[in-house]
Amino acid sequence: MLDWEVIPIPLFGRKNKEKKEEKKEGVSEALKGVLYGFAVHGAATAALKTRMHMEHLFMLMTLGDMLGFPIIPPYYSLKILPYVVPNIKSWKERLFRERDFTDLLSG
């Protein structure tokens, strides 16, 4: 399985340390902080999605023909296979749980 916690969200952490000063700066500044947090959090979510999306791309390119849509001619997908071997198991497990993984393809 992928370890989701590993994804660094550096700005979020820094903001927390500046908490004391923030308080003095009033409501508007606090709101700004919340919005900022949102934005950063949004970015992180997008990054999470992208990251997952990329793994799908890599795996689909290599093993697409297993699922019935070949992307690379099989002679060449064997060339990629060695690199994705450690990911195959978790990818397959996740794929079967995915509600609609065609979303990921089009996204």
Binding site: A44, L57, I80
Partner: protein, 333 residues
């Protein structure tokens, strides 16, 4: 004038010739004849290539060439008949060893092993292995002319579509990766980390480059010629029409049609002509009329039916004459 001599005068920069068409109509015969003509009569360095497991080039050149690498069968005429089964088996072994080396495994996980083994059963595996071999040979640039004797209906057209799909995916991955980098979350998605991804991308780029270089050559009608081989029979006419349609859809130019195995009509003047043969010639007439009507401008060469199977250099030389400068009256009597 009918015959390929006229075609090559018009297109002097042709580097690749592909003979396509249904089984048993004369692709191998035409390939051997053209290769012979270009090498022996025109002094070009020619490579004639096939992956036919029936070893039909060995058959027609009367030499054991199958799986033997490149063999010079006449001055300037080189022939290679690839043993695709063997090539694929060796390649699968290579991949298995690579995986074991990469991860320090004593043996492969069963699932992976089964997956690799299962790929040899796919027709697409044969096809892509064949194109890979073709692409390597063409990229070597060692020959003036490459003649590809294709398996029935494997005319390289699917490869063109595949190259486009692959290109789109490589673009998509590269773009997705940039996007991830912008979010500073440059976390690697594959277990080996960024390095593994870089290696996969590098491999993908190489594959894309190989495929696009090859398909660009194959779709350049000044450098590559596709000829459909047919015979005067109903099925062959239908199949040729279908193939023409497919080429048109993919925007690839079909260089011409070769009509093979036509019984010369002057046989009809022979008093001792066997009744069966007479019937056959009469049957052929309506198909010839249809071919005239349907493929008129595309007819590039006409080859008669010989009294025996063309085998050996002497007979190949005879076919080459007919292929390059055809007897017009066989079709327009």
């Amino acid at each position: 004038m009918v015959g390929l001599a006229e075609f090559f005068e018009r297109k002097p920069n042709i580097e690749v010739v592909v003979f396509a068409g249904k089984g048993g109509l004369g692709k191998t015969t035409s390939s051997a004849a053209l290769s012979y003509h270009m090498a022996v009569n025109e002094g070009k360095k020619v490579l004639c290539f096939s992956t036919d497991p029936q070893a039909s080039l060995s058959d027609i050149f009367e030499r054991d060439l199958f799986g033997k690498g490149v063999v010079e069968v006449a001055p300037n005429l080189y022939v290679v008949e690839i043993d695709a089964d063997k090539k694929i088996a060796e390649y699968q072994q290579e991949i298995k060893h690579k995986i074991m080396d990469m991860y320090g495994l004593e043996e492969l996980p069963k699932e992976i092993e089964e997956y690799i083994d299962s790929t040899s059963a796919e027709p697409a595996m044969y096809e892509s292995a064949t194109y890979d071999a073709m692409a390597d040979l063409v990229a070597s640039g060692e020959y003036d002319l490459y003649v590809f004797d294709m398996p029935p209906f494997g005319h390289g057209v699917r490869m063109v579509a595949m190259a486009e799909i692959l290109s789109a995916w490589v673009d998509k991955i590269t773009e997705a990766r940039k996007e991830a980098a912008e979010y500073e979350a440059v976390a690697a998605t594959l277990k080996g980390g960024m390095q593994t991804e870089d290696m996969v991308l590098k491999e993908l780029e190489e594959i894309r480059k190989k495929m696009t270089t090859f398909t660009e050559l194959m779709t350049n009608s000044e450098k590559t010629a596709f000829f459909m081989v047919m015979v005067p029979e109903k099925m062959a006419i239908l199949d040729t029409e279908r193939a023409l349609e497919m080429f048109r859809e993919l925007n690839i130019e079909m260089s011409g049609v070769i009509v093979n195995q036509i019984y010369p009509r002057d046989l009809l003047n022979k008093p001792d002509l066997p009744e069966l043969l007479r019937k056959k010639i009469e049957m052929q007439e309506k198909h010839l009329l249809e071919i005239r009507e349907k493929f008129e401008d595309l007819i590039a060469a006409i080859i008669p039916m010989y009294d025996r199977e063309p085998k050996g250099l002497e007979m190949i030389a005879k076919v080459a004459e007919d292929l390059m400068n055809s007897r017009r009256d066989l079709l327009w009597w």
